[in-house]
Assembly symmetry: C3
Homo-oligomer: 470 residues x 3
């Protein structure tokens, strides 16, 4: 019923041959369970299962995809209620913020955020109107009303969305208490942690020292040396694994991999503890830790993920006032062939090891990533990420990667979202685009319908499940 | 009537769903007035309003888009009548040159130059045949006949083309005398200058010293120091503004931005005056002047434009014999995220400031430019430029940029032409391609027809008018 | 008859307008003779004209396109019978290897290798089934049966494929004995060598010294100095030319071109002979040899080809065990505008000289290569190569290159294959894609059908014949 609001054929090619096949393929995968092998939902949300407070808190404030676009058109983040780290007062009237959102909803026309939001309004809340200045308050009230009902509690939605596995992302010092309790709960579907050591790897980041303390405490190992640091990380990986983790993740600007001697690692670690690490130290240490994390994955079986090529906190003003992850991370050119050479030579031929690479640099799809994944047994390509997690982005990814890497060196869709409601919207869009891509190949007689069917299910479900050993 | 010669549906997708919507959108924007916010037409042409001498002088000799393609196939520029700076004799028989053009017109098949020329022949001159060896002289005569009539005088054409605003490009030392007089003329539509300081910014360019003298004279300030240099530039900006200028423009190989200390700037300036500036001096001085020009724009409100990534005068033989702008400028890889960081951190959050960036490096569309424009309030993306001002180039631009930057962080179409007759041809092609792009989204149910309508007008007219404060 | 197995409209756009035009164009070029101006077939195969031993030996073992995909999915090369250089025992049972191939044939779905293989099975062997686990042995037997017949002897196939010219690739020391004898044979069609000096140019490659000895012997010149080295190369070019060669080829990671002084070249050469050449020596020597090879081409008229941007032998384990060309070469970012500047300035304006550039870096198509080819008379663009020799790769190439370089600055299709049976499959795919690309332009009213017809023949036959002076 709610489904009628949006056109059933949306995102498919208008050509009838392609569209009809796409629709047929899509029918088969649309309701498959969701595997979400990487993302940023807080496990606490599902444990506590409290009603979402209001639409602004649910949709705008946690989602930098949404407010960075408003910001780009001159709307200060203060007016959007984004919490300031420096004590600046920000707008607290969530209706007023929502009204600004309504006034500017046209900015999202043709963007993936726009597509997901329309999906959320229509499919989740059953709202048929497109948000605008006039109906903003009416829509706000409609959503507020629903959020108070049991049908819109986090767990109810989780199950309604058909989530089979949801992976969250945690720091090494995290106690995973919510995960522990969730394991014991009646929630249908698994919620599992993912080990992300960035805060203890980047020796120059502001909170490194505190993160090391957290690591010490969590591991019960005094992390006063590189040797103990490595031990503590191995210890935490084991702990994460005991709570269901199947993967790790690292966000690195450059995918340069390089093993340092233990002596050199110790020296850098010492300098870092003394607050005297240099840029070169940081760079070397990260390259070394990519090697170490790969080695550990070979040993403990956790799938290694790397998210590469984001220049974090490009806008210092925004960073100083609002902190990390505020829509001011900008991609940079990224090189894989030379940078990953050491890691792939050391571990890439190991059939038990899997490294999933995500990029923001599309020029590397056909030039570097597909050829690497099309050769090394360990290497797989992650789904189009962030700015590329979009209709055209998915199309370019498949068109650039499929012919060299095939479909079996990719790992299905990853939503990577902080916006809970966008999970089904993102998976639906992905399933539509994959159905359409395959339909295009059927219509061009490159593959048969039967082959498309197998591939379509693989992309929607099987590949993620297999790659992440779920 | 003349319009019947070319297919009404040209450049639209052949799929009927898309094509019909495209055509409907196009009907609404095709006759909107032309805003040309950046280009290289000489204001004198419109002031003097003399008949164009002949087809060769009008279409071939001023347009390096045309003759570089002929050159690439082995036809010497000397035979095409391109004036040689070194005194070499070149062909003077314009009929003979036109015949070569006719003999080789097939080289332009499938190129934007080919599309524009066909538009010019058909829509402006009412010539229905495609140029070839046999009809070259007949066509030449037909055009010659028309050029003698009042209907083909520059001003008549200007008004026939429906130009509302035409921006030219001038050096700091330019007196703008033609602009001054044009302001008093009866010409419908505005012709306004744009301040382009390249000749006084690049301290290593051959004519730098002479350009500094021109600046001194024009500003009435003895430019013997960096301090006075800055004053003189500010002075000339003010003067340009008084004659209607709304923008500046800078052509830079690299968009590296970096503020130098005044002392260092003075030192470089001194060395430059003494003819002793180094490559590093030139690089630093340009980076510094991008910062200074941005500061001035924040102060005086002129929109800042940068055209980046062209390796000028790649072919020394051509440069030595024929000089600048002879079709031998070749793009290079360009980096924006790091290079523009200093400028954007300093001025990018200023909502009163606008910087429009043009690139020749398409790999930066989705990776750097769209994310930057999708975050910083001041940053906007210019239209696909030069080699990318084409059917496929426009398609790639929209597909790569729209999803991350939306449409409101772009500024509509810019023709950037030296070929007067190509203005309506270029805008028509752009309007067709934008109509088609939006129609594709309608046909895929990504946006509604009503939304497409608003966007289509925005791309054809509103965005340029707003971005350039016209 | 066999042709019915595969859909007649395969690879064409599903839109009826485009498809019908594409099919009409394709009908005209499908049976044109094949010009294969660059590839890696062994002339001995055609001279000896022995039956192919079996399907595994014919299709899997010589083709790294095939086995690198199997390897990427965890199948060791040892199990695929790839001969090990280090004495490791590998699978010898060709039926067992073929069974693995059948078990994993789905990995090739949607890849160009998959498309070529289907063509080979259907069009060459008349096998209508898609290979799979179950029918693998049946198909094996069918092929074995055919390979014993006269119809499947190399020469019979050569003539059946309609090959007019086949260019092979040889090292400077090669005696070309098979070419000499083939010239005297009754084979319809020409088989000509191509001079590839890589083994004597890269002073750091393992076999350099041996290759220099081979050069000495073949040229009858004691190559103990750079001077004699150059003489010997000139001598061998002349010899290759006498046996029909029309071209040279160089594989270089970077296209950096730079003339060294004779003194410096001599010094490097001496160090190389003494086994003391450095990385910088090797880099400079290669840059210098690109200049020298261009000079020689200007003098002797051989077309110069360069294949750029492959990081060879990325996987040391594979290299150590199996040697060169085992599917472990990975592309790297490549720069042409600056790197080729010296060569193009020196020789690029020479209308008698032709340099054909092949790239693995698609981001350079519209940014660097098309603008360079669209300006310099000597420069032409080679067909999409290796990973880009695919349906989408060809589409991207044409879409990125055509508008700036036109079609006459490209040189038609190059199969560059080591897999004899794939020659007709690759040319057929290319002809289909070019037909489809041109049909798309006809359907968009960018070009007329008559223009498309001329271009289609040019792409399938004329351009290669003209560019390589055949």
């Amino acid at each position: 019923m709610a489904k009628r609001i949006l056109n059933e054929y949306r995102f498919f090619d208008p050509d009838k041959n392609t569209r009809d096949v796409a629709y047929e393929l899509y029918q088969i995968v649309r309701d498959l369970p969701i595997i979400s092998p990487h993302g940023h939902i807080d496990a606490r949300l599902l444990l506590e299962n409290k009603p979402f407070p209001d639409p602004t808190e649910l949709i705008i404030i946690p989602d930098h995809y949404v407010y960075r676009m408003l910001y780009s058109q001159g709307i200060p983040l203060e007016l959007l209620g984004i919490p300031a780290a420096d004590g600046t007062r920000v707008e607290r009237d969530h209706r007023r913020i929502w009204q600004i959102f309504g006034d500017n909803f046209h900015l999202f026309v043709g963007t993936p955020t726009g597509a997901w939001l329309r999906h959320e309004f229509a499919e989740i809340f059953g709202i048929s109107e497109v948000l605008n200045s006039k109906n903003a308050m009416k829509v706000y009230n409609q959503i507020v009303g629903k959020l108070q009902t049991k049908a819109f509690l986090p767990r109810t939605l989780f199950e309604r969305f058909g989530i089979e596995v949801l992976t969250t992302t945690e720091a090494p010092g995290d106690t995973l208490e919510y995960h522990k309790k969730l394991k014991l709960s009646s929630l249908k579907g698994r919620v599992i942690p993912c080990f992300r050591p960035d805060s203890v790897v980047n020796v120059l980041s502001r909170g490194w020292k505190a993160a090391i303390d957290g690591l010490s405490k969590a591991a019960g190992i005094e992390v006063g040396s590189y040797k103990n640091y490595i031990k503590a990380i191995e210890n935490r990986r084991e702990y994460f694994k005991s709570l269901g983790a199947v993967s790790t993740d690292q966000g690195v600007e450059s995918p340069w991999t390089h093993k340092l001697s233990t002596a050199r690692s110790e020296a850098i670690f010492e300098r870092a503890l003394a607050g005297k690490a240099t840029e070169e130290d940081a760079r070397g240490f990260t390259a070394n830790m990519l090697m170490e994390m790969a080695r550990m994955s070979v040993e403990d079986g956790l799938v290694m993920q790397i998210h590469t090529g984001s220049f974090r906190n490009h806008n210092r003003h925004i960073f100083d006032r609002f902190g990390l992850d505020k829509g001011a991370d900008i991609p940079v050119q990224t090189e894989y062939t030379r940078n990953m050479s050491e890691l792939l030579n050391e571990f890439g031929n190991d059939r038990g090891f899997t490294i999933v690479v995500f990029t923001l640099d599309e020029s590397t799809y056909s030039r570097e990533l597909a050829p690497l994944a099309g050769h090394y047994p360990a290497m797989k390509l992650g789904a189009p990420w962030w700015f590329n997690d979009s209709i055209q982005g998915m199309k370019r990814f498949r068109e650039s990667v499929m012919e060299t890497a095939g479909i079996y060196n990719t790992v299905g869709f990853t939503d990577d979202t902080r916006a809970f409601l966008s999970i089904p919207a993102r998976h639906d869009l992905s399933r539509r685009m994959d159905s359409n891509f395959l339909a295009g190949m059927v219509a061009r007689h490159i593959i048969s319908f039967e082959e498309a069917l197998v591939l379509c299910k693989a992309l929607a479900y099987d590949l993620a499940k297999k790659a992440y050993k779920l």
